[in-house]
Amino acid sequence: MSQEVLLKVQKLTKVFGGIMAVCDLELEVRRGEFLGIIGPNGSGKTTLINLITGFVKPTSGKVLYRGQDITGKQPYRIACLGIARTFQMARTLQRLPAFKNIIVPLCSPRVTKFRGGKYGERDDVAIDILDDLGFERDSFVPYKMAGSLPHGYLKRLDLARCIALRPDLLILDELFSGMAMSEVAATLPMLEKFHREGLTIIMVEHRLRELFRVADRVMVMNFGQKIADGSPQEVMEQEQVQRAYLGTEVED
């Protein structure tokens, strides 16, 4: 992990009607870091991701990526700068074959710049990426319509779309929710591998055991605010976190 700050969030606030979804949030992510974000339902984790990736415009505050202000930019511009995100409810292109889903990021200006925009081998690249994530190339799975694949495959297809973009920062929104244990066990080492290769990862997750195995640092959110930040052990020892997660004990 280097000392360079890749992503910096300053006093970020988002108000939906009367609800403060994210409130004065400060966050710094260094290059090569694996940050976990946890918190109870409705604590603003997904909104934070939407704010960083441009899908939601903040009410106030700033998002800086490599020192550049990206607040309120179009989502595709932010993606082209190297921030890729998955969606909580795995979003895929249902009426296209699974591997054609991966063609889309391969056509983005970010990737064509890398590869010189050569046409014809995109299908092969797409199959390679899917093969790495457990879509066996010799099976029929990569060629099936995405809409007919089981949930676990859709989640990984969503991840594959991000990987195809060759991101510098990968943001995962509850990647493991709804995945079978075996699928989690197969995907986790892949994430560790990407992380070792230098990819910065922010992971919002409810499966704490898996998250704590891979995360360097964990931030805990509640009611749109940061209530704890530190190593997994440090964070879980804090009383405030236990209260937010487990509730307070009822006195007899």
Binding site: L93, L96, P105, R161
Partner: protein
Amino acid sequence: MPEGGKYRKERLDRGIKARSDTLYVLASWKDLCYLLLPRVVPLGLLFILPVVLHGSYWEKVLFYSCIFGLLSLSWDLMAAVGLVSLGQALFFGAGAYMAGALNHYLGWPIFLSIPAGTLGGAAFCTILLVLVVRLRGVYFSIVTLILPLLFAHLIETLEILEGTHGLLSLSPYPSGWLAIYLAIVGLVVVLFGFRKLLDEDFGMILRGIKDDDRVIMAAGVNVYWYKAQAIFLAGAVGSFAGALMTHYYQFVGRSVLALDYTILPLAAVVMGGTGSFAGAVLGSFILVPLSEALRAMGGLRMALYGLILISALAALPEGIFHYLERKYHQFERMVKI
């Protein structure tokens, strides 16, 4: 199984298609016929028909069918990107007026005014619709519905482009053959061009936009740029139809912005089957001649026309082309075991 299991049914296209959609293995002349007939016969008919019908009233109907076929193709491309247009008349009118005005005021000959009308009309429509390309679903449709009506009123009240009189005595085609074959070749090129386009990577993105545009954005692709390109292509095809028609009539007036040019292509695509382009053409080649054939019915014409349209939609909601395509792939032969 009949006859003690000596024969079994086998699907023809199983044997012919070797694992991929583009590679075929032919074992007999029957396989060849199965593969070629449904593709070659309609195309051959289309090119022979003008000769057969030459000089008759039905030659005109063939020309109209091609014009509405082009408009339906244009509608189907927009729909493939998830843009439901209720204003094909805008594309048609833009091309018609552009070609007509260039010919009428500047005296451009026909072989210049048609291409210029096509591209100019497409550019005009794209500029207008790009302003509202962020609108989704029914909101976009409403805008497309209003635009042609708006321009019809502007032309009428401001008396621009000769107002209600329209542009008269435009150059005719040097020969009737040119008009009809221009329409037919245009139709075939656009049909196969669009089908090919949607199989390319470019087309994958267009189809993806219809599925979920947020996925496309998250993948770093500018959705609005791709939508604008699709609108330009659809606009060019619609404007081409308008420019062809203008010189056929040697007249262009407010009627080119009428609802007919919106409703009929839409009905044709829905009847023929959306998303395949072939369905759009098939639908036009059923509906346009049908509406002409019903002229003999006099006052009952529109009622009967509507009735036929509704029964076709109720019986085959997937569209005639998709139904035929399904039956074609299910075609079986008896094989000796």
